[in-house]
Amino acid sequence: MPIKMALSSVITTCLIISTTACITNTSPEVPVFSGRYVGELTIVEPENYFLTNHGNQTFNNYDPNYEDPRQWDDCEPEGVPAILLTPAVATLDIISENKTVLLHYERDDAIRIVNMHNTNSKSDHKSVLGYSKGRWENNILVVETTNLNGGVIIAQTSYPISTNAHVIERYWRENGSADLLMEVVIEDPVNYIQSVIIKRKWIWAPNAPRHPWECVSLGPRHSESLDIESIKQQLEAL
């Protein structure tokens, strides 16, 4: 947690410095996407998800009302790619540096560190956010993520994603706008016979407030009758 707080503080400082120059390139090779964005509510999903037999079986056996970990604990963190696609209105702060790009989401106060330097590096550790390395392809920021915990692609749906999935995000700007277009390509041969492609726009919003996440779990959604007085006391104590 102290590391996370320190990172948050660094990010806030970086944002203040970088926001003013966010649309201007600092080097001729790559654009600088640093700054604050708010995700559009609408995401563009494929018309069909072409599932393998295994994927179809997993899809049919998954009930998001019971198997989504957040049905039992609201503060279970969202993973990649779900956190990129969450419909909640929330900010994303991007800090571009030489060796890393930091992606800081309001949701869960999650911080992804994208390794831009040593792209041959590997990690065996699996986590909800996975291991990300990135590169610039002309003016497109490409982030490749592996080592994911798996689960579902979008929260509260049943489309599975395996621990072997490879998620490729591409971010770019168009027509002089500071908004970022995002394309997420999910390669997961265990579950899908072709890549799943989902798109979303992140609106440039340098003045948008960022609210602390400070997650509070209201408890499991499937339980015996709630002790309302006890919940009231907990909430009053916050």
Partner: protein
Amino acid sequence: MISTIHNRDFILKIILAVAIYALTIITQPAESHHSFAQRMAGELQSVEIFDGYIDLYRLLNPHSALIVNVITEQDEIDGWLIELSSASTLRREGWHETFLQSGERVSIAILASTTPNRGRLRALLVHGKTSEEVSRLIVAYGIRGDTPIMNRLQERLSRCPGIEPRLNRGECFIVNSEALNKLEDEFPGKMGYIMP
């Protein structure tokens, strides 16, 4: 000879049919959202409506909370925990810590959870303190967005000041007694105006 060709055609057709069948099994498309709607249908259709008083309201992530005390037919108090959208979302829409206050009389429609006294907010009518004071109708899960119920309300009611409609999520409408009477006449039943 003719018989052989027919047999060969027949065998080729069988092979083709088997191949197509195998392909459809391997590549079963699943249409987006359908699974969610079907799985949630039971919950979404289970709307419960009651009258009560706000006991506690908190803006929280990932779900804000409302505790409503319902007066039962036996004159007992039945406490309910109602989930709202995240504080991040609601604050951007213009909600604040005193947007709802304890003691306010409400009529509330919820999407019932499997937990007996828990649900998600579908609609909340916050009654004015006097007959002259306007009420507020807040609509959320199952109504928000471009839905027939939202369109119906937008055509008939004005928005609460200070609430940002651009996000196209929840909505807050001003309802005076005349508008409420009209809605109740046009859409009979308990809170019929927010029902399909």
